[in-house]
């Protein structure tokens, strides 16, 4: 039998209730995440891709217990964590950390880098004593390739890329098994983005980290991930190994996303699939297949019956079509 995966998400549901009216009754619900499942093995990168509003970030926050679930289960290394008390959850927090998108709001503007990095160390009782703590802080700064002199500075003295390094150092501080990168490089310049991506890949190799890489940037995802999960309107429409998904997408949405990735070679033949319209509101999702309102291949069955994830064990997709017409 295989060892349990590091992280297993089983049928995750997260609805945000909309309250309104005189008495604050529930007037609607936003289905941010609707029946979503995936696993991440130790040392593996899973990229969660999708357009804005598809529920990617909610998944990341829910895994960390920053927002309570409406349904489903989250297992960390064989322990169910979605229903733990706050105190017991706190004891597991050192195993999962997060790096946010905006490096300007993810660091407390009033705390020096040293204070910021000490926080997880003292909270989790790691690196006891000031000498040990100091050594660990320098080690972390070395790992993210910041000079040790950075420890005494305040966040606003750094550039965006440097701040993101600080945020990564903070995430590394409690020696986690899993780091959730919530659009961690999306706000950075292209050259800085590449540095941070390479840094993350180096750290993964060095420390055996698992990464849940939430992104909308497919070029970067293809560069760093082992597996890809494509999200649309709160659900996974396709999940599989990187090469399989990128070379032979099985879901029309994946195909459309991939066709939108710019290619460095201007002479390469390109066939853009331009999707009409916007993503429907998760407050009022379409019946049947969530994607049928924009799918170029939709037929009657898609409007009525929601396709289940199917395919082989590694590459699964949620589409009634066995083969996309374009691939034939």
């Amino acid at each position: 039998m295989n060892p349990p995966p590091l992280l297993e998400v089983n049928g995750m549901v997260k609805h945000f209730l909309i309250r309104g009216g005189l008495l604050g009754g529930i007037t609607g619900r936003v289905r941010a995440v609707d029946d979503l499942s995936f696993t991440i093995a130790r040392g593996e990168t899973l990229a969660l891709v999708g357009e804005s509003g598809s529920g990617k970030s909610t998944v990341g926050r829910a895994v960390l217990g920053l927002t309570p679930l409406s349904g489903g289960e989250i297992w960390l290394d064989g322990t169910r964590i979605d229903q733990l008390s706050r105190a017991r959850m706190r004891n597991l927090r050192h195993r999962m950390q997060i790096v946010f998108q905006d490096p300007f709001s993810s660091l407390n503007p009033r705390l020096s880098v040293r204070a910021c990095l000490s926080e997880p160390l003292t909270n989790f009782g790691l690196a006891r004593g000031s000498a040990a703590r100091e050594a660990r802080i320098f080690e972390l700064l070395d790992q993210v390739q910041l000079p040790r002199a950075a420890a005494d500075r305040l966040p606003h003295e750094f550039s965006g890329g440097q701040r993101q390094r600080i945020a990564i150092a903070r995430a590394l501080a409690p020696r986690p098994d899993l780091i959730i990168c919530d659009e961690a490089v999306s706000a950075l310049d292209v050259s800085v983005k590449a540095q941070i991506v390479n840094l993350l890949m180096d750290l993964q190799k060095e420390l055996g980290l698992a990464l849940l890489f939430i992104s909308h940037d497919l070029a970067i995802v293809e560069h760093l991930t082992h597996r890809v999960a494509v999200m649309y309107l709160g659900g996974i429409v396709e999940i599989g190994p990187r090469d399989a998904v990128f070379s032979r997408p099985r879901h029309p949405y994946t195909e459309a996303l991939l066709s939108a990735v710019p290619k460095p070679d201007p002479t390469a033949p390109r066939r853009r699939i331009v999707l009409a319209g916007d993503m429907p509101s998760p407050r009022d999702p379409p019946t049947g297949c969530r994607f049928h309102t924009r799918c170029p291949y939709a037929f009657d069955r898609c409007r009525v019956e929601r396709p289940e994830l199917r395919g082989d064990a590694s590459h699964r997709f949620a589409c009634h079509l066995d083969d996309l017409p374009s691939a034939a």
């Binding site: 926050r61 960390l64 920053l66 706190r90 927090r93 050192h94 999962m96 950390q97 997060i98 946010f100 998108q101 905006d102 709001s105 993810s106 660091l107 407390n108 503007p109 009033r110 705390l111 926080e119 997880p120 909270n123 989790f124 390739q145 910041l146 000079p147 002199a149 950075a150 005494d152 500075r153 606003h156 003295e157 750094f158 550039s159 890329g161 440097q162 390094r165 945020a167 903070r170 501080a173 409690p174 050259s191 590449a194 540095q195 991506v197 390479n198 840094l199 070029a219 970067i220 293809e222 560069h223 290619k263 460095p264």
Partner: protein, 298 residues
């Protein structure tokens, strides 16, 4: 297809900036003339309050019916009132009352309002209860509330401070609650929770310091409004007892003689005006300087 573009990137971080120089406070003051002007005015008033006995004053409560209603002169700089008391001395001693009330109310209302606002903003279930009570308090005009509270007690500076504080607390609580609610959504708060930070430390270290800027601005406005409220309370006889000279008392006593001796009302009014102006200038300056859209931080 895109792997090559990443390999080309330099792995070296950018240069870490130089440490800033000292003398920040002096530069900060020079860059904000309104704060400077406000501090000068308040500083002058504070000096007057502290050194009132040494500024050529006499006993402000000494009655001398013989010399009543003297015009301003070399002997009586601001003249005398209908009981022959030296108005210059009374106004200078009155500074003590006004500043005491202003600063005490600002400190007390900020402190209590901060605590209430933090609880309301942080403990979700308590929010509705606390804020409805605060709304209820706020629906009573603060001057009426203060009059009502004073009617229940004896007139004394301490009771004036308590009465005005109670009517000012809800505004601070509401402000702080709003700031806490918006801070809670900041990624660095979520990151701190993910880093295992417990609630008390989260509040002390991450939330409290970020409420101090709006709180200090609000405190200056409370200070100014408390001084005015004190004067109004004294003017209508519901504030400091007549034995304690305060600007409101002096003006109230001079009210009947306004047409023949306007100087009795004029001098305390000027002092009140300058003090409130100073506090408001400080508040406006702080508000501009602490605007989160600027990078300057105290």
């Amino acid at each position: 297809m895109t792997a090559s573009q990443f390999i080309a990137a330099s792995p070296l971080p950018e240069i870490v900036p130089q440490r800033r120089r000292h003398g920040k406070f002096v530069r900060f003051i020079l860059q904000h003339p309104t704060i400077f002007a406000g501090l000068v005015l308040i500083g002058m008033m504070a000096l007057i309050a502290i050194f009132a006995p040494f500024l050529g004053t006499v006993d402000p409560t000494a009655l001398a019916p013989v010399r009543r209603l003297r015009p301003p002169s070399a002997a009586y700089w601001f003249g005398t009132d209908m009981l022959g008391r030296d108005i210059y001395s009374r106004v200078l001693y009155g500074t003590r009352v006004s500043l005491t009330v202003g600063f005490a109310v600002a400190l007390l209302a900020s402190g209590v309002g901060l605590a209430i606002g933090l609880v309301a903003g942080f403990v979700r279930w308590s929010d509705a209860i606390i804020m409805r009570v605060m709304d209820g308090l706020m629906s009573i005009p603060s001057i009426l509330l203060a009059i009502a509270l004073m009617a229940l007690t004896r007139g004394s500076v301490r009771n004036v401070v308590i009465a005005i504080t109670i009517s000012e607390i809800p505004r601070v609580a509401r402000l702080i609650r709003g700031v806490v609610l918006s801070l809670r959504e900041e990624p660095y708060i979520e990151a701190a929770i993910a880093c295992g930070t417990r609630a008390p430390r989260l509040i002390l270290r991450h939330i409290l310091p970020n409420t101090l800027a709006p709180l200090s601005v609000q405190a200056t406005y409370i200070c100014a409004s408390a001084m005015i409220t004190e004067a109004i309370l004294s003017f209508i006889g519901a504030g400091t007892p007549p034995t304690v000279p305060s600007w409101g008392n002096i003006m109230a006593e001079g009210r009947a003689l306004w047409q023949i001796k306007p100087s009795i009302v004029f001098f305390p009014a000027i002092f009140l005006l300058l003090t409130v102006l100073g506090v408001n200038l400080l508040g406006d300056g702080l508000r501009d300087a602490l605007d989160p859209r600027r990078t300057l931080r105290l």
